[in-house]
Symmetry: C2
Subunit: 526 residues, 2 copies
């Protein structure tokens, strides 16, 4: 034992193995299905002409900016460290702010419009709590340098394609579209326009963004003095007057009225070109009821243009829909905003229905790159919340089969060097034939080795005792058939029993190892 090892083992105060709150370990199935999901989404992005880009996890804090809704958290919800040259760096909290930095830094050399896609983990210093993670995966696509809402419309249609590529059936999701200009116009109407009200407007948007979660009563508190949550924590409100709150409540009701006018039956397919004109008038009339202005009209015009493009390309209201309740919590949006929502329900282990809600969103952010440059640079994009979408897909596919483990070569006579080398050679031969295999490397006896193979969900174990070795033979044990045999030995008829027994254990010559293993794998479609 080395001195280091000795010192470590003898140390009396043991470190406790634990994870920081809000972080999680992930196992094989989760990793493989997430990888598959990212591949599917990336394939859609590629079809739309997006080029992969990767930015590092760290950015200078000032280049990222602070656009998160978590104003009450340390560093406004961002993890930051000070570098040895005194500059502050932060872990990215989304994939959009780093893109803005990248585009500004490489502006002249990029093709314009610049279409780029990215995926990776982002970090938020959220308040830790059950199911609230501080590291999660996003997969984004953005178009920089296209000012037309045709770009926004394309992004929305692509978002619909992403949902279907991920395996969400049409009708089980919806891409909801709104425009910040409508909301901004409403703010102006109720006296919250102008630079001096920027903070209040943001607080209002963030309150609205929680409508799904908190209901109108919770939102009303957030618009006024503030709200205390179940844990006792207090969120400061927007501090609006009761008249302003009253007007906004009317707007909320109006939004839901419009949504109803659009979609009397949320899941019934409709011909959108026919229904277009009616709701647009409904909206205009209803808005004039509250008050009307230039900003609202601009927003409505853009919504109408996008709707026309959806119709022209054949993306009906079963895929993409106008919904005036969509807000998005981030500060930097300047025009169209969109959200991908899952509309199906699954039951949890207790039979309670779960809705997954939003699994992605985005919008136009014409100002973000302007932070670095002298002119605004138009940009729009969409982000799929991979971690959330994956959770929903896992809930949909609960019955997914546990993947099989490798072939396990069991070890007897461990101290017999020649025998031991032979076991390793068996494993090596299988691998050369592209069959996952391992020699058992622990210290346990034969029965424990078979239990180990079961725990790995292996289909087969390879066995060679001294008898077999003397005859250059091996036993190929079909563990699935063997398990069946053990469970049903008493109930089987003699012939069936013998057949299963024969199937569960095959003695062959060493030279037939690979072929026999292949035959048994084929029994289970491998």
């Amino acid at each position: 034992m080395t001195a280091f090892l000795k010192a470590l083992s003898m140390s009396k105060t043991k470190t406790i193995a634990r994870l920081p709150r809000g972080f999680q370990d992930r196992g094989r199935q989760d990793i493989l299905s997430t990888n598959a999901l990212i591949e599917k989404i990336s394939a859609v992005y590629k079809l739309y002409g997006f080029d992969p880009l990767e930015t590092p996890f760290f950015e200078y804090t000032d280049t990222l900016g602070k656009f998160l809704p978590d104003t009450d958290r340390p560093n406004a919800g961002v993890f930051s460290v000070q570098d040895d040259d005194e500059q502050w760096m932060s872990l990215r909290y989304d994939l959009t702010a780093p893109l803005a930095r990248f585009v500004a830094q490489n502006f002249d050399s990029l093709p314009k419009p610049y279409r780029s896609s990215r995926h990776g983990y982002v970090f938020r210093n959220e308040k830790p709590g059950p199911g609230r993670f501080r590291q999660f995966m996003q997969c984004d696509a953005d178009i920089v340098g296209a000012s037309s809402v045709a770009a926004d419309a394309e992004i929305c249609m692509m978002a619909a394609d992403c949902m279907e590529a991920a395996g969400i059936k049409r009708g089980d999701y919806i891409i909801k579209v709104n425009n910040r200009k409508v909301l901004d116009g409403v703010m102006e109407v109720i006296g919250l326009g102008g630079d001096e009200n920027a903070a209040k407007r943001l607080a209002v948007f963030r309150a609205f963004d929680k409508l799904d979660k908190l209901g109108i009563t919770g939102v009303e508190l957030l618009l006024g003095e503030g709200r205390r949550d179940e844990s006792g924590d207090f969120t400061t409100g927007a501090g609006l007057s009761s008249i302003q709150i009253y007007d906004l409540k009317r707007f909320t009701e109006f939004s839901s009225r419009c949504a109803t006018a659009y979609y009397p039956d949320a899941y019934r397919l409709r011909n959108n070109t026919q229904t277009m004109e009616i709701p647009y008038q409904t909206i205009k009339n209803a808005l004039m009821d509250i008050g009307e202005n230039q900003t609202i009209n601009e927003g409505l015009l853009e919504i109408e243009q996008m709707h026309r493009l959806f119709s022209a390309v054949g993306y009906g209201e079963d895929r993409v829909r106008i919904d005036f309740s969509v807000v998005r919590g981030l500060e930097y949006y300047t025009g169209p905003v969109f959200e991908a929502e899952l509309t199906f329900e699954v039951k949890d282990d207790k039979g309670q229905p779960i809705r997954f809600g939003s699994v992605g969103g985005g919008g136009r952010y014409d100002g973000l790159i302007a932070r670095f440059r002298d002119e605004p640079v138009p940009a729009t994009g969409f982000s799929v919340g991979i971690s959330r979408l994956q959770a929903a897909l896992t809930a949909l596919n609960k019955t997914m089969q546990k993947p099989y483990g490798p072939v396990v070569v069991t070890v007897m006579d461990k101290d017999n060097t020649a025998a031991y080398a032979k076991y390793q050679t068996f494993a090596s031969e299988l691998r050369q034939a592209n069959i996952p295999a391992e020699m058992y490397l622990g210290d346990a006896g034969f029965n424990s080795q078979l239990k180990y193979a079961d725990k790995r969900n292996s289909i087969m174990a390879i066995i060679q005792g001294s008898n077999e070795r003397d005859n250059n033979q091996i036993i190929v044990k079909d563990l699935i058939a063997g398990g069946e045999l053990a469970r049903s030995a008493k109930t089987l008829e003699r012939d069936a029993y013998l057949a299963l027994k024969e199937k569960s254990q095959i003695i062959v010559n060493e030279t037939e190892l690979v072929q026999t293993v292949r035959d048994v794998l084929a029994r289970y479609g491998q």
Copy 2:
């Protein structure tokens, strides 16, 4: 323009778009080839029965421990933040320390031996400098719960398989194997045994680890008072006496003598079972020359056992070799240590030879999990430095062709809503046929749109002016043939010119869009 956008654009102090030192952006080719590399390595790990695992980027600082060689850096080279409950969290600096935490936390439920593989970015707060990155990718495989050197031997053979799977030819890499016990024994012989000398031993190991980079003179300085590098920074030395340094220099010479005895011709294939006995005796004799003890003998015995297994499975000295100069800079190794080294040279842009050296390494770390538990848990593993290996592969494959961009649907008569919708429909039809395509979304004129397509390296542009529209036709422009035409118009004979012209531009009915595009893609093997 929204108030937010206005405020941003009008702000006079612009943020400078820049990246923190030691971090980099990565483009399409780099991302795609790295993904392909990870897939190849992961496939080898899977063949050897390793199960994917992913741990989060953050761990509590005390669970990670401080085992990095960067003792002079802030937080010993680790990026750390304090959580809101006052506990310190750190970004992982490798994938081994988090595995140790995971295993300790889930010990009872894991199959043992536990074989797991992981890949992902790790972070080191290194001194920033050209080519020194603070975020880089690793891909690891570890066996926990196997005390036998058979596990180490298997890891080494797998490391060789990984290099070949990555596309490194046999002879262009070597897996070098040593044992920390030999080094520890030598330390004891020269009077650096015992807990009280732990720090000195570590300093010696780290000095040795730099032999390749600094040469024996540089290492000698690091063993003594210390060394000032080119930038003027001073690294404190191990502070050994001149007698100790003399003995270690003898050991270094001895190491290289042994290596020579083993491998008179480093790249010539040899039958290792025949050459085994000679160098082992050479080593023993040479070591007795310096002094011999129990620890050295244990180390040599383990090396011999591993060598036997390599021979038995047919991994000759063209793949795996004993090399007494291998040290590894990390503190936690307790037995066999290994390193994957690339042995080929490439020329840089100035014709200077570059050697890539080590692209991975690992070893046995029986004490790391013992930090959390009352008994040592044997463990061994290997880590491929994906970023470094990828850099070497890129240098090998300099002539790799730039990938083609999407089909670009050009836009004329932008304000004609019906025409515009048609362009979007063309792009949509191509995507439905699984052909990457985009409608041009910028504001530039027709010629700039074709230049854009060139910049994207697109094979084709789709064009529909008002003439074509009236006849329900489109022009499919082969941009590669078109470029050839422009370059060689003057030198071509009439027939060849006409043929190329015909090839470069095809007028077809709208309904033939997909088929025509497919035909043109096929010209370029797409």
